[in-house]
């Protein structure tokens, strides 16, 4: 109650100081009024007060307890002592009673309260002093930091003083209690009451009563007619990590399709580890530009190697691989043609290998982001997509369910759209002059949103309801999200080139469309989260659901962030800065990558029958999750500061110098993500390795017997 009151006061106080800060300074000149510093300061004061308050309360409880103790009459106290004697004490008492007789009467000390009051009031005084620092200096970062630093020893000192006071008080009271006990003993000896003694004896018998533990089972040996006791494990281990639910065995799939899916996911994992490593190295180059002077490893060449490798190698193979599980499963049909699946797999792998080598050798398509592979290499991907599309379409056509499940709307549409996108981007008829940029905006945007996001949303429509074991919240919301996603997402590519020389009407359409994106994003998010509703316990019991939960959360956050980034002012502030790099990683990593991981941990145990070790999955999850935050938050802050410096007209190199710390933090976050990939690869290996068969001696013995008897 009180804590809540304190928090509200802090919030109100914070709000008012923030307002003051904004009035005093223009919104843009943030560095003159650090509201973040003020906020931290106030948070600190709040924390300080809360801790002090907590200790004072403890102190007060102690005092009131002791007071209560002081108020009771001796007789009351003694009778309550007597009634709460335990068995041992009763025995001892009765023993002594039989031996001795004598008399006395007790008296108690009072006082103390004055000292406590003085202590108490002086402490509250000092706490009040701390809440009223001089307001005029509040805005000064240095003063705030100094005050916080000074407050730390003050806080620790106050806590120490209060703890000491409580202890002193306890010692004092213990002395009183000792004296009281002496009197009580004498009093007990003085009592001459047969009735009391018999009551005490009865009480002792009651206290000593214990169950025999055989009341229900009896003493006969258990006859295990239905085999329950045999299965119980007497082995109780200490669990250092949370217990997760085991994967529920599912009917196993065909060996052929199992192998295909595992190869897709395995290749994807390989590209993730390699692509992530390259990304990590590219990130390090920001803080150590002279790490190497080798042309094949220079920043300009490696950056697209990284982005394309994780796009086509990791994510595309990952989602197609999961698609080979989901599409036939929700169609309740067998996959149309496994061979096409293998062909597509090799084509995409070949595309990434050739693409990587050509980019490192300095052969690229001309500079459009994600369009760096030249067309002969990209053509491999197009063929692979067409094969996948036909395969999935024919599988859906053979479905034994009446309706087409929502996953398949998304997955197959996404493949159709991607073929259209790739053709639009690579056909040469509309690429001259600034038309190249118009197409580029459309391509890089739709490539991300129509290929990866749409497909992943389809996967989530299967995995989330399946793992929660309940249907999706609302089909109708799914329908709304599906069509509005197509309608709005397609038209907003140009928002990557706001204020550029692209026709203004096109930019306006893009900005308006970005606003429209609220509809599909909110609809889909509600749909997923309402499926989770009431089932949150399952999230903490599962090692797959946290991945899907993170994916949905980032889907909402990143999409809304994207809408905000499309506005005109935010384009001034964030365009061309590292903010967009943070944004793209939040999206691609937070949504797509987490979803693929969740999918992999869901289906691979079904396919191979081997679960990953739960705590290593946990390590993977947290490394990736925390790593991503360390990656994206510094880049967002740094990108914002950079944009502000540019708007103020500061020399360009100043913004480079300013970014150093943020780039360093990015590299640290990137390292955590980099580690997470290795953990994932290890888990994948563990789930797919051919297990060395456990020899079941009994089983073998039976076999042996059978062979002897010739059966």
């Amino acid at each position: 109650m009180k804590l809540r009151l304190i928090i509200t006061t802090i919030l109100i106080f914070y709000g008012s100081t923030l307002l003051n800060a904004q009035e005093a300074n223009n919104m843009i000149h943030l560095e003159n009024s650090p509201p973040t510093a003020t906020f931290i300061f106030i948070l600190f004061i709040g924390l300080f007060l809360a801790i002090i308050w907590h200790f004072l309360r403890k102190f007060k409880i102690q005092v009131s307890l002791e007071k209560k103790w002081g108020k009771e009459t001796t007789a009351q106290r003694f009778s309550s002592y007597i009634s709460s004697l335990n068995s041992n004490q009763i025995t001892e008492y009765l023993k002594v009673k039989r031996l001795l007789r004598s008399k006395n009467k007790p008296d108690i000390n009072k006082g103390m309260s004055t000292i406590i009051l003085i202590l108490f009031s002086s402490l509250t005084l000092s706490a009040q002093n701390n809440t009223n620092p001089e307001k005029g200096l509040f805005g000064q970062g240095g003063i705030i930091i100094t005050l916080i630093l000074i407050l730390i020893p003050v806080l620790l000192g106050s806590i120490f003083a209060i703890v000491k006071a409580i202890n002193a008080f306890k010692i004092y009271n213990n002395q009183n209690k000792l004296q009281d006990s002496k009197q009580f003993a004498e009093n007990l000896i003085a009592i001459e009451d047969e009735e009391l003694e018999s009551t005490l004896l009865k009480r002792k018998a009651a206290l000593d009563y214990t169950l025999s533990n055989y009341e229900l089972s009896g003493k006969n040996k258990a006859e295990d007619t239905i085999g329950i006791i045999q299965n119980a494990s007497p082995d109780h281990q200490v669990h250092f990590t949370a217990q997760k639910k085991k994967a529920i065995p599912r009917p196993s799939l065909d060996k052929d399709i199992t192998k295909l899916i595992l190869w897709y996911l395995g290749c994807a994992a390989f590209w993730l580890v390699l692509g992530g490593t390259i990304g990590e190295y590219v990130g390090i180059k920001f803080v150590s530009p002279d790490a190497d002077h080798i042309s094949w490893l220079s920043f300009g060449r490696l950056r697209p190697v990284h982005t394309n490798m994780v796009f086509w190698g990791w994510a595309s193979l990952g989602i197609i691989g999961l698609g080979y599980y989901v599409v036939p499963t929700v169609s309740n049909a067998k996959i149309h043609n496994i061979k096409w699946g293998w062909n597509a797999l090799w084509l995409i792998n070949a595309m990434v290998i050739f693409g990587t080598i050509s980019l490192m050798a300095g052969i690229n398509n001309g500079g459009g982001e994600f369009r760096e592979y030249i067309w002969p290499i990209m053509a491999l991907f197009a063929v692979a997509l067409i094969l996948t599309l036909l395969n999935f379409l024919k599988t859906v056509a053979k479905r034994t369910t009446k309706e087409i499940y929502i996953s398949n709307w998304y997955i197959i549409s996404s493949i159709i759209f991607t073929i259209i996108i790739a053709l639009t981007a690579y056909l040469p008829f509309w690429q001259n002059g600034i038309s190249e940029t118009i197409i580029q905006g459309y391509y890089m945007h739709s490539g991300v949103g129509m290929w990866f996001t749409l497909y992943t949303l389809g996967l989530l429509y299967y995995f989330i309801p399946q793992q929660l074991n309940r249907p999706i919240y609302a089909y109708s919301l799914g329908i709304l999200a599906f069509w509005t996603q197509i309608l709005f997402y397609t038209i907003i590519g140009t928002h990557h080139f706001v204020f550029s020389a692209i026709p203004w009407w096109l930019q306006t359409v893009a900005i308006v469309g970005s606003g429209g994106m609220i509809i599909p994003v909110v609809a889909a998010t509600i749909n997923y989260f309402f499926t989770f509703k009431g089932q949150w316990k399952k999230v903490s019991n599962s090692y797959t659901l946290p991945f899907f939960f993170v994916a949905v959360m980032y889907y909402f956050i990143v999409s809304m962030q994207g809408t905000a980034e499309a506005f005109k002012f935010t384009n001034l502030l964030w365009h061309f800065t590292d903010f967009t790099v943070g944004h793209s990683h939040l999206g691609f990593y937070g949504i797509i990558t987490f979803a693929i991981w969740g999918g992999t941990y869901t289906i691979v145990p079904r396919l191979t029958g081997i679960e990953p070790q739960h705590h290593i999955v946990g390590a993977h999850f947290w490394l990736a999750f925390i790593g991503l935050l360390f990656y994206a938050i510094p880049l967002s802050i740094g990108g914002t500061l950079k944009g502000m410096m540019w708007m103020e007209g500061k020399p360009f190199i100043d913004s480079v110098v300013m970014m150093f710390d943020y780039w360093l933090w990015r590299a640290i976050g990137g390292s955590l993500m980099f580690l997470a990939h290795f953990v994932f690869a290890y888990n994948f290996y563990k789930m797919t390795r051919k297990p060395i068969a456990e020899i079941d001696i009994k089983e073998e013995a039976i076999k042996h017997l059978k062979s002897i008897t010739g059966n």
Partner: protein
């Protein structure tokens, strides 16, 4: 609903919707632009070294960090004298049979925009040093080194372009550092990056989101602060923050007789029209003319240089500078 039970209907509808939207927001505007946009009269397609340099620019992936677009917002004014327009890119066509058109507009500015860098930093010596290792000239730069565009020769011939890099950057290399053909081509491309003036009489598009404080800054442009900012933006990359320049490449302004002396005419002339009188140093380009400096800006730079790094030249007023600038202009037109 029927559509969700019939895969042919569902996927045809979705595909058609997407294709239609694609046409109206990508293909149609692109085709329209190709039909309606013509290059500016003064623009010429790249050729020779500059074109070869552009191919190197593309293959090194420079676009990852350098944009080539001046947006119509005030903050982009530092990168060009006017906002970019579709016509600026109109003569860029498909790069090759294998490669798409490269407008190189970019989406990231880890480094500065290069639309107008040919006006801003045309110096061959500076660009070569900067390509060999950016930190030779800009200490805080994080741009990669393009060492492989250079070679070392013990006895360079007369036609070789020798780059005078400070010795600490030449660790493990013996002989003189010579720019390869590729380096020269790349610099030729960088030098060719200039905004083309609009034809006379056409309206220049304006920069949006002007800062209000800007006005007060300009009215008081001879102040020291302004001089320092102008120096950082236009002079520091060669003459360095400490004014000492770089040995063998850019002369020191600290204690320089021109900076501290009385020959104001020579001083202004160098700022406006460049300098190539001393063989041991690189050629200075016509910084003032390229950047269209006015007398306030020139006076501010002179005053900053005369009062920094222990220099003790006397201050000048914009009026004095204006007279000389007018005189130089007359001289220049007469010489033509």
């Amino acid at each position: 609903m029927n559509i969700f039970n019939n895969h042919k209907k569902l996927y045809t509808t979705a595909g058609a919707l997407f294709l239609g939207l694609t046409f109206f927001t990508a293909i149609m505007p692109a085709l329209q632009n190709q039909k309606n946009t013509a290059p500016l009269p003064e623009s010429k397609p790249l050729s020779g070294d500059a074109l070869a340099g552009k191919m190197i620019y593309i293959s090194e992936g420079c676009v990852a960090c350098h944009s080539q677009q001046v947006r119509n917002v005030d903050m982009d004014k530092v990168f060009g004298s006017r906002p970019g327009m579709a016509a600026d890119y109109a003569n860029i066509e498909r790069t090759s049979f294998w490669q798409n058109t490269a407008t190189l507009m970019g989406t990231e500015r880890t480094g500065p925009d290069l639309t107008d860098v040919g006006n801003r930093q045309p110096s061959l010596d500076w660009n070569l040093m900067h390509l060999f290792n950016p930190r030779t000239v800009v200490k805080q730069s994080i741009m990669p080194s393009y060492e492989w565009l250079f070679e070392t020769k013990l006895h360079p011939t007369k036609s070789d372009v020798v780059v005078n890099v400070p010795p600490e950057f030449l660790k493990g290399l013996h002989g003189k550092l010579v720019a390869k053909k590729e380096a020269l081509q790349l610099v030729a491309y960088i030098q060719s990056l200039k905004q083309i003036p609009l034809p006379d009489g056409s309206k220049t598009p304006i920069f949006l989101y002007k800062k209000e404080t800007k006005v007060s800054l300009e009215s008081n442009s001879s102040s020291d602060a302004d001089g320092k900012a102008l120096y950082i933006a236009n002079c520091q990359s060669c003459h360095q923050a400490n004014g000492e320049g770089l040995k063998g490449a850019f002369p020191s302004l600290k204690g320089s007789p021109i900076v501290n002396g009385d020959n104001l005419e020579l001083y202004v002339d160098i700022i406006m029209n460049g300098y190539d009188a001393r063989a041991e140093y690189g050629v200075m380009s016509a910084v003032g003319t390229n950047m269209e400096f006015n007398e306030h800006q020139v006076a501010a730079i002179i005053n900053y240089e005369r009062t920094s790094w222990g220099n003790t030249g006397k201050k000048v007023s914009p009026d004095e500078v204006k007279k000389i600038m007018d005189f130089i202009k007359i001289k220049a037109t007469a010489a033509k």
